[in-house]
């Protein structure tokens, strides 16, 4: 009766018949194709998610309230302030002279930015001393703040450039003769917007791959087709390979969709090794398929399988470094995170896509990903019941 008891009355056999694997694969493929709604969701989900998140990233946030802490008043400063006002990025809500007033405005949420131009800015600029413009940003919404910070830097450049003519022309060449110092407040780690799109690939793959394979066996049990399947000489490993392989293609399609949108729509630079990326993404898809398959050996109903999928999905978002900086998490949370396939995948994809890493740089995450995959597959196979007990 106990579903936990392994069927011990027959030694597992490892002689895989590829004809039987193919039989299961073909059947699964046809069923997948017939299940139009599910198939549509699998293809549409990456698009919808990316567009939704893409708005958060792509919306150049405009009209961000800013307080200016102004200690002096000269032609260049005035030009800078005029450009800020003219740009729609910043709305200057007030101009103060005391640092405390600026801080208070930022803390109370009255302003999202505090832009400080120190005393003697113009004099030191002309002397070539590279004075600082200080931007304190409320980065509790880092994505929103990130866009404006970039905008302010651009505005400064274009505002000062026309001033650097005649005797001041020597100030024009890069680097800029001033320095913009950004202080991110309230969320010092900050998440760069480029981080999110590649990371979304991990989230989307986890969600669809695990969810779809988690019902691989429970669906057969619930519909009663398991009895017929088990009455045939098909082996557990053949069922596992045959049932999960069709979804490798689904995963591959999702990868292509996400990466195409990432590069074309969000201009994510893909700087690293394509091979390393492909190996990483393949291992990751396999690991997720095995995770889902393992769930399907544990769940008794499709409903339970869904619940278990969410049980896996939440830590995958919260403890993987997707939502919160990984190193900032407590040790126990990091330990859980290390066991999740997505944690390693996120590192691989960020390293490769954004930082230009090669195969050797990400081997430290490819190996654990492979190990997780093997453990999941092994446990799933051991859990497969060859009888109806």
């Amino acid at each position: 009766m106990s579903r936990l008891a392994l069927p011990r009355f027959e030694a597992p056999s490892f002689d895989v018949s590829w004809a039987r694997v193919f039989a299961v694969f073909l059947k699964e493929l046809v069923q997948m194709r017939r299940d139009r709604p599910t198939f549509a969701i699998m293809i549409m989900m990456p698009v919808i998610q990316l567009v939704l998140f893409g708005y958060a990233i792509n919306t150049d946030p405009r009209h961000m309230p800013a307080v200016i802490e102004l200690r002096e008043d000269g032609p260049m400063t005035r030009a800078f302030l005029a450009s800020l006002t003219a740009s729609t990025y910043i709305d200057i809500v007030s101009i103060v002279t005391r640092a405390e007033d600026g801080d208070a405005a930022l803390r109370s949420g009255q302003a999202n930015f505090l832009i400080s131009i120190p005393e003697g800015f113009e004099r030191r600029l002309v002397r070539g001393e590279r004075p600082q413009i200080l931007i304190a940003a409320d980065t509790s919404d880092p994505v929103a703040a990130g866009g404006a910070i970039g905008a302010i830097q651009q505005i400064a450049q274009s505002a000062f450039a026309p001033e650097f003519v005649g005797p001041l022309a020597f100030l024009a060449p890069a680097p800029a003769p001033y320095e913009i110092v950004v202080h991110r407040r309230f969320n010092p780690a900050g998440v760069s917007s480029f981080n999110i799109v590649p990371a979304l690939l991990g989230v989307i793959l986890t969600m669809t791959m695990v969810m779809i394979t988690s019902i691989a066996l429970t669906r057969e049990s619930e519909r009663g087709t398991m009895e017929n399947l088990l009455a045939t000489p098909v082996r557990p490993i053949e069922v596992m390979i045959g049932k999960t392989t069709p979804y490798i293609f689904v995963g591959a399609i999702q990868v292509v969709i996400v990466m195409t949108i990432a590069v074309l729509l969000f201009h994510i630079p893909f700087t690293g090794s394509l091979i390393a990326f492909l190996i990483g993404v393949t291992l990751f898809i396999f690991a997720n398929l095995m995770l889902g398959y393992l769930i399907s050996t544990l769940a008794k109903t499709q409903m339970q399988a869904m619940q278990m999928t969410f049980f896996v999905f939440l830590p995958s978002i919260l403890l993987s470094g997707f939502m919160f900086p990984f190193r900032a998490m407590p040790a126990w949370a990091q330990a859980i995170g290390e066991c999740l396939p997505i944690t390693h995948f996120l590192r691989i994809v960020r390293e490769v896509v954004l930082k230009g890493a090669g195969f050797a740089d990400v081997i430290g995450d490819l190996m654990p990903l492979g190990a997780i995959l093997l453990v999941l597959a092994g446990v799933a196979l051991a859990r497969f019941r060859r009888t109806l007990d």
């Binding site: 004809a19 009895e227 009455a231």
Partner: protein, 309 residues
């Protein structure tokens, strides 16, 4: 008998949730036999068949099926057995042909397309082969399931109520088919609720509450049961029947056309009951008769209530 045994299991037992649903079950089925498996709902027929084909692990018991150990060689058994489940268990979202092809591939059959074509032709489903199995009516589903479990030419057929809900014509065709297989040496264990099917079996095992109560060649069963019968006819039959049902020693009163057959295991008590009916209604005719299969099976099937607890 020197015919080799295809099923030879001893002491099979199975419990669910602490309740014994099959208890110390023995069965010996010789090669080529059609063995009927009877018993009320919930008596353990399906559970027994599942243990025989390796789908359930027996708690106790040993045995061989087709010469393979029932506990350790279930894969070898599965390769050579055709099992038709009580509930339709093919894929409703695959077409008729796709289902057959799936099974043919799983068994690694050669000449796959040819076999599937043949099975479809035998079924009379060649034109509808692209139709989804889920769209078939109950009777057609049964036929498809039977075709699917025969496609790999198994040496042993385990059929769990294969004709439940199938029209009489289809049932006759089905039994003709079984007899043809039997003549070729295929062994069949078939559970059924239909008397007319039971009498076509060479032997019958009867099970109730997980215990085998009877197991004999069909022809010997009347003697084994020891059931006696009287025929009562004439008028007023209705009243006579009601009176007989109330008599001690009457185990079964069944209507057969214009007569009722009264059966009982106690010969003297049964005769007394018949005579009481004659005394009450002088116009009825009473006579002792030879007990037929019909009476036996009505007695077996109706005498025991459903075994669900």
């Amino acid at each position: 008998m020197n015919v080799p045994l295809v099923i030879d299991v001893r002491g099979l037992s199975k419990s669910f949730g602490g309740r014994r649903v099959v208890d110390d079950f023995n069965l010996r089925v010789p090669r080529g036999a059609i063995y009927g498996f009877l018993g009320p709902n919930g008596s353990g027929k399906t559970t027994t068949i599942r243990m025989v084909c390796g789908l359930l692990k027996p708690e106790a018991g040993v045995g061989e099926v087709l010469g393979f150990d029932v506990l350790r060689e279930s894969l070898k058994i599965k390769e050579r057995v055709g099992y038709m489940t009580q509930k339709f268990s093919l894929y409703e979202d695959l077409s008729i042909r796709e289902n057959l092809e799936f099974i043919a591939r799983i068994y690694g059959l050669d000449r796959r397309a040819e076999r599937v074509d043949q099975a479809l032709a035998d079924l009379g489903l060649a034109e509808r082969q692209g139709q989804l199995a889920g769209k078939l009516s109950g009777g057609w589903k049964q036929r498809l399931a039977l075709a699917a479990c025969m496609i790999h030419e198994p040496a042993l057929l385990l059929l769990d109520e294969p004709t439940a809900g199938v029209d009489p014509k289809a049932r006759r065709d089905f039994w003709d088919q079984i007899r043809r297989y039997s003549a070729q040496g295929v062994t069949t264990l078939v559970s059924t609720h239909y008397m007319d099917e039971a009498v076509q079996c060479d032997s019958i095992a009867y099970i109730a509450y997980g215990k085998k109560l009877l197991d004999a060649p069909t022809a010997e069963i009347p003697n084994q049961i020891g059931l006696f019968a009287w025929r009562v006819s004439g008028r007023p039959l209705q009243e006579a029947q009601r009176l007989l049902e109330a008599q001690p020693g009457v185990d079964l009163v069944a209507r057969f056309g214009t007569a009722v057959h009264v059966c009982g295991k106690d010969r003297a008590a049964l005769e007394a009951a018949a005579r009481a009916a004659k005394a009450a209604f002088p116009h009825v005719e009473i006579a002792p008769i030879e007990t037929g299969f019909e009476e036996i099976f009505i007695y077996l099937m109706s005498g025991s209530v459903d075994n669900f607890q």
